[in-house]
């Protein structure tokens, strides 16, 4: 019901993006290999931060990057690599995400005559099944995006018994809060609310039902050392692939 605020050493200079990045990085620490898809500056920064904090693990593959793209077997290699079990975490988004962690990357309304059409499902209906820790990432947290039931299932959050599914949803991070996904219960649980937001606001802005513990902490603000890493060497690396993002957020 209440948000518990952090008491430890937190940086005064942390930007909202730094808080998101740091929260994601925590979910990546200790993993062997994290892959980042297209157009994902915040997940990329989080993976680089996890790597920097722990001296080289996880290995980070970033599609489209010259420095962090190791693939030499064409467009199929990312999916093969995941199918081999060599990718421990991946990020997926969605025009809509629902309470069962189904994601919609295709269309709103009747898919044959949609009100809105998005690019398409890409590899979601594969990665979501085989990567153990899929983190859903959606910066627009509104009842329009976090819905009761998606209009089109690009990839389901849960599979029926008998379907081989080592991977699946691990968490959902938005501009307002962090949810974890409970596979046993088949629903999200509110884990923390970002500074400046409230549990009441989350309730209002979320179109699906979720578990809300009695005490919800505030999402941790990173310490000075972490913020220095993010605003220094990691921002430099981001700038190579995402110059617009690096300029807007970090003045690079």
């Amino acid at each position: 019901m209440t948000v518990e605020t952090q008491t430890g050493d937190k940086s005064q200079d942390a930007l909202p993006e730094d808080i998101l990045i740091s929260a994601i990085a925590e979910m990546l620490e200790g993993l062997g290999h994290v892959a980042i898809g297209a157009s994902s500056p915040i997940p990329m920064a989080a993976a680089l931060l996890a790597n920097a904090r722990t001296g080289g693990r996880p290995q980070v593959s970033v599609l489209g990057s010259q420095d962090h793209n190791f693939f030499t077997d064409g467009a199929k290699e990312l999916f093969d690599c995941a199918g081999q079990g060599r990718i421990d975490a991946f990020f997926l988004g969605g025009a809509q995400i629902d309470g069962q962690a189904n994601i919609n990357l295709v269309s709103i309304g009747d898919p044959d005559r949609p009100k809105a059409r998005f690019p398409g499902s890409f590899g979601s209906a594969h990665m979501y099944y085989v990567v153990p820790r899929v983190i859903l990432f959606r910066l627009e947290h509104t009842p329009r995006t976090l819905v009761e039931r998606v209009d089109y299932i690009s990839a389901p959050g849960l599979s029926e018994p008998g379907v081989f599914r080592p991977g699946g949803p691990y968490a959902l991070i938005t501009d307002r809060c962090l949810f974890h996904f409970d596979k046993g219960q088949g629903r999200f649980r509110l884990v923390s609310v970002h500074p400046g937001h409230t549990v009441e606001e989350i309730r209002e802005q979320t179109g699906f039902a979720y578990e809300e513990p009695d005490h919800v902490p505030e999402t941790a603000v990173p310490d000075r050392e972490t913020v220095a890493l993010l605003q220094g060497p990691i921002a430099d690396q981001l700038a190579k692939l995402y110059p617009d993002f690096a300029t807007r957020v970090y003045g690079r």
């Binding site: 599609l63 064409g74 398409g120 590899g123 099944y129």
Partner: protein
């Protein structure tokens, strides 16, 4: 034996109406000069296969009315936003849509490459992608027990995907018709899987690309290349990736993405950049 054509018009004449055409993604080697020639020859009824996705090149063909069917994991202009003519055509119900997922496209092409009737893959079950693909099938994994999997382990069978024509733009070819594609290996799978490969190359080089073990590793042998033409800057306005390539014309692509949001704007774009053959530097 690879046929060397003089220009993109001659290549476009080899791609018949109704052909099923494999296209590489935006971050790979896109044959945009050839795509513009297809628009100029007023191709009709094309079936575009994104391997596994496409952007500008397909949007141009869709906007120009060349396309009946789109089979792809995605259509996007990436950082320039949604592909505007694709989006408009889908909303208007003007395209037959075969939405897929990246590894399903690759699995179908690999079945064709192997001469196998189909590939199987996990994933997809429970998605609307599968629900809307009656041409795919769900079968049980006959090896589930010995592979230590509980349950019946349903898998999706994806039929061999055999394009009529593969279309891309490579950095170089030699005079024997061998074509260098480097790490853009999807172009090789596309060439193996398709009946024909009709392509452009940035330049034709002396010597034989197969003679050196380093260039050979990234080369598609002429056996798979039906016809090619030398077209400098043939990927423009997109990039030719790799350390021997060039960057995308971001200003042009941003303008296209904005202008093509309306049918009129798209027509103006066609008039200015596509339909007037003299606007085509490749035809010199």
């Amino acid at each position: 034996m690879t046929v060397f054509e003089k220009n993109v018009a001659a290549l476009a004449a080899r791609i018949p109406d109704g052909a099923k055409i494999a296209l590489p993604p935006d971050y790979s080697y896109c044959a945009n000069a050839l795509v513009r020639a297809l628009v100029r020859r007023r191709a009709k009824g094309l079936h575009l296969v994104g391997v596994p996705a496409f952007g500008y090149q397909g949007d141009l063909l869709i906007g120009a009315g060349c396309v009946d069917t789109v089979e792809t994991a995605a259509v996007t202009m990436g950082e320039y936003g949604l592909a505007p003519r694709f989006t408009a055509a889908v909303k208007a119900g003007e395209l037959r849509l075969l939405d897929a997922t990246c590894p399903a496209i690759h699995a179908g092409l690999q079945a064709a490459e192997r001469g196998a009737p189909f590939s199987v893959m996990r994933g997809l079950i429970g998605s609307d992608i599968l629900a809307r693909r009656p041409d795919w099938r769900v079968i049980d994994n006959p090896f589930a027990a010995q592979q230590g999997i509980e349950g019946r382990d349903p898998v999706v069978a994806i039929p061999a995907l055999k394009p009529d024509v593969t279309v891309f733009h490579a950095p170089k070819a030699d005079r024997f018709g061998n074509v260098f594609i480097g790490v853009r290996r999807e172009c090789m799978v596309m060439a193996h899987a398709a009946s024909q490969a009709v392509i452009t190359v940035e330049r034709i080089v002396d010597g034989n690309l197969l003679d050196d073990v380093e260039t050979a590793a990234g080369t598609i042998p002429s056996l798979y290349i039906t016809a090619l033409a030398e077209v400098a800057r043939g990927a423009w306005p997109q990039a030719l990736p790799g350390n021997q390539g060039y960057a995308a014309d971001a200003v042009h692509l941003r303008d296209y993405a904005r202008q093509a949001k309306s049918a009129e704007g798209f027509q103006a774009y066609l008039d200015a950049h596509v339909l007037e053959p003299l606007a085509e530097p490749a035809l010199s």
